[in-house]
């Protein structure tokens, strides 16, 4: 890849064709193209409508419970003896993760567009639960596609979705995980174009999804800026977040991209290790085209998509949002990775030191905080996004630790 000049701003993308540098785009079947153009127009209209923002704000406050706190993790700070560690508490949102921020935006948009049938893909089930929740709240039909492997390892979330009135479809095709759930959701959308809105859960897919989902998640970073100014009178020195598709990370990072002194770390899932089965698309993949966009992917010599692996169903995806691929090549964000074991250790450490059970996804971010924080001075302000809570992972972790529930 040839070196690219640094832009004046990292926050102006994508261009009108949905490109972040060479990444992104609209690689979809012709059947979907008119819908994607309609969605783009509807989103631009909504963005310019104060009533849309007012409804978002009201629901964020009274339904989701925003702003989420920025919490000084005192004991973890003491434990590592370096940077002053803050948690952005996205796990305290209604439904237990950051996913609901984006779903709220998309469901309000679907209502504006008159769509009555909502489909979604889900990995860990958090995006599925958030979608099922807002569909219940607004009386919309909800169908969630979930890989059969994930249905098995995330049973509590499957039950929650059913309680909320959603239909969960266990996807048996391909590798039976998140990427196959996304294939199946796209197949549903191609078939039911007239009445269906596809609520994508991460900053990936065809334009305008990566930009739209990012915009809906940017509330995380915007609040963090304000809260840190109040707490410390200045911006943080570093940000750390886990990355599957990368929506919680993008939401935290984006409002800080032009603050060049803020170090930014994205943590991919290294699974069993980068030389074995993993889900680290940037570290172990290369650019390709899948699910509507060009981005870094795990694949073989022939462009066939390879199986990802992570202990965390939410990170178990062989790709990553296209804007992350661009930020990686621009060098603005440093992408690192944590293994299954490191995440499991961090999960237990955080639970005991802070009384917070993080989901296995942000446990990957915490695992790298364990490496980054001790090397920093005591006045270094580090924010880690606790993107979800660990309740959904309890049965899986208990099994790994040899406990029968």
């Amino acid at each position: 890849m040839t070196a690219q000049a640094h832009p004046n701003s990292f926050r102006t993308g994508p261009d009108e064709r949905g490109h972040f540098g060479t990444f992104g785009g609209r690689f979809v079947a012709e059947t979907l193209m008119p819908l994607i153009l309609e969605l783009e127009k509807a989103y631009n209209d909504a963005k310019a409508d104060p009533a849309f923002h007012a409804e978002m704000r009201s629901m964020m406050t009274h339904y989701i419970g925003r702003p989420s706190p920025l919490y000084f993790a005192e004991r973890m700070t003491e434990h590592f003896g370096g940077a002053k560690i803050y948690f952005k508490r996205e796990e305290l949102n209604h439904t237990g993760a950051h996913k609901v921020n984006n779903v709220l935006g998309q469901i309000l948009l679907a209502r504006r567009m008159g769509k009555k049938r909502i489909i979604a893909e889900t990995g860990a089930g958090q995006h599925g639960v958030a979608t099922a929740t807002l569909c219940a709240r607004y009386g919309l039909e909800c169908i969630v596609y979930m890989g059969a492997v994930d249905v098995e390892r995330q049973k509590p979330n499957v039950f929650r979705m059913n309680m909320l009135g959603a239909k969960v479809v266990a996807v048996e095709s391909g590798t039976r995980t998140l990427k196959d759930a996304m294939n199946e959701a796209l197949r549903d959308w191609v078939t039911n174009v007239a009445d269906t809105f596809y609520c994508i859960g991460t900053v990936a897919g065809p334009h305008p999804y990566p930009a739209m989902v990012r915009d809906f998640q940017c509330v995380i970073g915007e609040e963090t800026r304000e809260q840190m100014m109040q707490a410390e009178g200045r911006l943080p020195d570093s940000l750390v977040a886990c990355i599957g598709g990368g929506s919680n990370a993008m939401g935290l990072f984006h409002p800080f991209l032009d603050d060049r002194n803020v170090e930014i770390y994205g943590v991919e899932a290294a699974g069993h290790g980068l030389d074995k089965l993993h889900a680290a698309s940037l570290t172990g993949g290369r650019p390709g085209v899948l699910h509507g966009n060009r981005t870094y992917l795990l694949m073989n010599h022939d462009g066939q998509i390879e199986d990802a692996h992570s202990i965390s169903a939410g990170l178990d995806y062989p790709g990553i949002g296209p804007e992350h691929s661009w930020l990686h090549e621009m060098g603005r964000v440093t992408y690192i990775s944590a293994t299954d074991q490191e995440a499991l250790d961090a999960f237990q450490l955080c639970s005991r030191l802070e009384g917070i059970l993080p989901a296995l996804e942000p446990a990957h971010a915490l695992a790298k905080v364990a490496e980054l924080a001790p090397a920093k001075p005591k006045d270094h302000l580090m924010v880690v996004n606790i993107s979800g809570r660990g309740d959904k992972d309890i049965p899986q972790i208990a099994e790994i630790l040899g406990t029968r529930l």
């Binding site: 690689f27 193209m33 390709g288 085209v289 462009g303 066939q304």
Partner: protein, 290 residues
């Protein structure tokens, strides 16, 4: 903004044009068949491909297997996975087409699939190798006109037809953009949906074809949901050609043993259905072109 291919491009659609010309002279629609390269193994898929023109196929489409075919139904998904399991890759598919061309110089060959394997092979290298192998056209499902820079325009430059899909959601406002850089023929997808599932309302097909023909002089072929000679005859009434894919793959799959290996009946099962489809297409007499 979409770019237009230069007027002086060297689109060598001779085989495709000649074949539609021949069908018009015979006063009938063309039969376009789709099978998957490498399904259930490379040699059998080549035998199947070779058998198609003799059974009545006018144009053959060879599917490029892909792990994540997001516009395809279960039949083609499974066919792709069977092929990948046998190690089929893009280089291997081009090698099979070279061998087909050694014996058949006139039947148009269209490669149909998804962009990623081509992108990873390298667009420039792919176009040179595909042209040399005797490929006439490309159908790449996930490249709408908005992404014409990626492959469509380079393909036209290299003398390969880039055949576009038009769908029921492609309205009159959008059709000109969809047709702008299309060459060879237009493939009308008769349903909103994935391959091999719903059967279209054949009565509506001719109306849709007429709508497209108001925008282009190219032949318009119709596919998705055509499963029998009777279906083919219905579609042939309103279209310049009929495409059949999933039904052929189902016929092939029905002959495989418990380990998905070809049997002595595999090639014959496909040709039997193709003969039925060809008879259906030929049962409808169309006015010869003026």
């Amino acid at each position: 903004m979409l770019k237009t291919a230069p007027m002086t491009n060297r689109i060598d659609t001779n085989r495709i044009e000649a074949r539609f010309q021949k069908c018009r002279q015979e006063g009938r629609a063309a039969l376009v068949t789709y099978v998957m390269a490498g399904d259930p193994d490379p040699e059998t898929s080549l035998d199947v491909l070779k058998s198609l023109p003799g059974a009545g196929a006018d144009i053959v489409e060879f599917g490029l297997p892909f792990t994540d075919p997001m516009a395809d139904g279960p039949a083609i998904q499974a066919a792709g996975l069977r092929a990948l399991k046998q190690g089929q890759d893009l280089a291997g598919t081009l090698a099979l087409i070279r061998r087909f061309r050694d014996e058949d110089a006139s039947t148009p060959v269209i490669l149909m699939g998804y962009f990623n394997p081509i992108f990873i092979y390298g667009v420039e290298r792919f176009l040179v190798d595909a042209k040399a192998a005797g490929v006439d056209g490309l159908i790449v499902v996930d490249l709408p006109p908005e992404e014409d820079d990626e492959l469509c325009l380079p393909a036209l430059q290299a003398g390969l037809a880039f055949i576009r899909l038009a769908t029921p959601t492609t309205d009159d406002k959008r059709l000109p953009a969809v047709l702008e850089n299309t060459a060879g023929f237009v493939y009308y997808v008769s349903i909103t949906g994935i391959t091999g599932m719903a059967t279209p309302d054949f009565g509506k097909v001719s109306t849709a074809v007429e709508r497209i023909k108001r925008h282009t002089p190219l032949p318009v072929v119709v596919g998705f949901g055509v499963k029998s000679g009777a279906h083919a005859a219905s579609v042939a009434q309103g279209a310049d050609g009929v495409v059949v894919g999933s039904a052929l793959i189902d016929a092939l799959k029905g002959t495989l043993d418990e380990n998905d290996r070809a049997t002595s009946r595999t090639v014959e099962a496909v040709t039997t259905l193709v003969k039925d489809l060809a008879a259906g297409v030929r049962s409808v007499s169309k006015k010869a072109a003026a």
